[in-house]
Symmetry: C2
Subunit: 327 residues, 2 copies
Amino acid sequence: MSKAPIIDNLQYANWSDKIFRQMREGNVDAVHVTIAYHENFREMVLNIEQWNRWFEQYPDLIFQGRWASDVDVARQTSRTAIFFGFQNPSPIEDDIGLVEIVHALGARFMQLSYNNQSLLATGCYEAEDPGITRMGKQVIKEMNRVGLVIDMSHSAERSTLEAINLSERPIAITHANPHFWQPALRNKSNEVLKALAESGGMLGFSLYPHHLHGGSNCTLTDFCEMVARTADLIGVQNIGIGSDLCQDQPDSVVEWMRVGRWSKEIDYGEGSKDNAGFPPQPQWFTDNRDMPNLAKGMRQVGFSDADTDLIMGGNWLRFYRDNFVPA
Amino acid sequence: MSKAPIIDNLQYANWSDKIFRQMREGNVDAVHVTIAYHENFREMVLNIEQWNRWFEQYPDLIFQGRWASDVDVARQTSRTAIFFGFQNPSPIEDDIGLVEIVHALGARFMQLSYNNQSLLATGCYEAEDPGITRMGKQVIKEMNRVGLVIDMSHSAERSTLEAINLSERPIAITHANPHFWQPALRNKSNEVLKALAESGGMLGFSLYPHHLHGGSNCTLTDFCEMVARTADLIGVQNIGIGSDLCQDQPDSVVEWMRVGRWSKEIDYGEGSKDNAGFPPQPQWFTDNRDMPNLAKGMRQVGFSDADTDLIMGGNWLRFYRDNFVPA
């Protein structure tokens, strides 16, 4: 285990042995993968069953990560630990008891809302944000108790600030960038970023083109300079990568992510009618093999080797150690 | 950990703090509890959620057992480890992928059938027993792989013999007695008992009155002499306790166990129209505090202290160590 850990804390690819091999080529020790957007409990379990088949098929490449120590196992055995997470609380339905159940099944991150109002919190595309709901307050306590991390990547501002405040353990924004750099609705205000960091939370920088300054044409230097500005704002201890890589997905999947079953009309989310599908990735980050590019870019904008290691995985590993276990 | 482990490998009580305290008074280190008779997957998960509430409410008395090492934890901390099991494969529905999911949630025993024909095997009340089904063969392989123990307590003869044969790991009959002692339909033939033991399997002796010679009036000596005869037949290494204690249950529960949702007519199972409810326990085994009575009875019929320790928990503990972990 001479090298520092490399962790990508958000991907939702069209998984295949090709991608699992690329994780190994990129020396990626752990990936937090999305296993639910709009799925109810039983449908989410079917997605775990699909992952279990991949774990059986590719035992030399991947295995299910449950604890921070599994990142060490990954490094010792040259494999990638796959950690599960939900971008929506739909898998817990209206049942707080499912929080502990999904944790037992390995879920480690759960967004309290995805774009829309949920039973727990408001999503970033709603016109009004009344904050954390009655059930939301109860679920935050339960997530704290069992070790399921609150993720507010797709939530609205007030709900996010309230979640940070209400949660007794640090929360995460697994995949988003600062609003000061690219004023996308999904990117986060300085107020949110500061409150997040002050409570020990983590921001994962997104490589999704709609979150990047210049979109698909964003340069590596521009991206890494934004990371440096964020480190100046909230500290180098509170940042990592959450690439939001949606590799090899057909456009039908982005429609599922955006519309699920909640609307009969198409919602274009961060896209538009003329640009409805997945935008192309910047050429310097197209798959897991490009993770070393990011590390190189960080050093080129002046990060020390030690700080680069923290950003590329060390910070997430520390966060895993502190936050995946029951309180 | 001076004393030997005490394990009751089948109970289905109307759980309460009173019963959990009686487990402690009886020095019971582990209990395998039934959490499904006819429940589908989601309904079984609701039952786990109820157990999770009890684990939260009574942390000084009970906790969820997942591995054999949890029996050691129980002994070290003076608590009782609760292991989950199903008396029917209904929780895996028609989905083999749920075998691994329920194991992840802590299920450690699953009957392939409960009285009736299931998707996997035949129950002991069917007129015909065509043996293990196509899905049954696949599920046996999968249970072997993940470490979910096959239980044939309520299955028919041919299905039971085939399961013993098909399974690459030892199976269990968690709660039944030898047919030679009490010719109940649920009790097991010498052929089944010998095949079970030859493959390293375990028989848990039942204290349910319908399985006892003399019913509720069975004497402790008669019971323990039956245990001795069984040890002569199949070896002292392959026997333990699976009391089938259904303490404090209302008669409506025995109706749920027998009829579930599969019939509009009442089925009396081991009872009868005139004796439809739960029969009274023999006075020497009415709750967990009577476990030491059994040990005393074993010694009185000639078992050595060492063999008594094996029967009262040592054998189950060895079986747990070998069979709860993935292959």
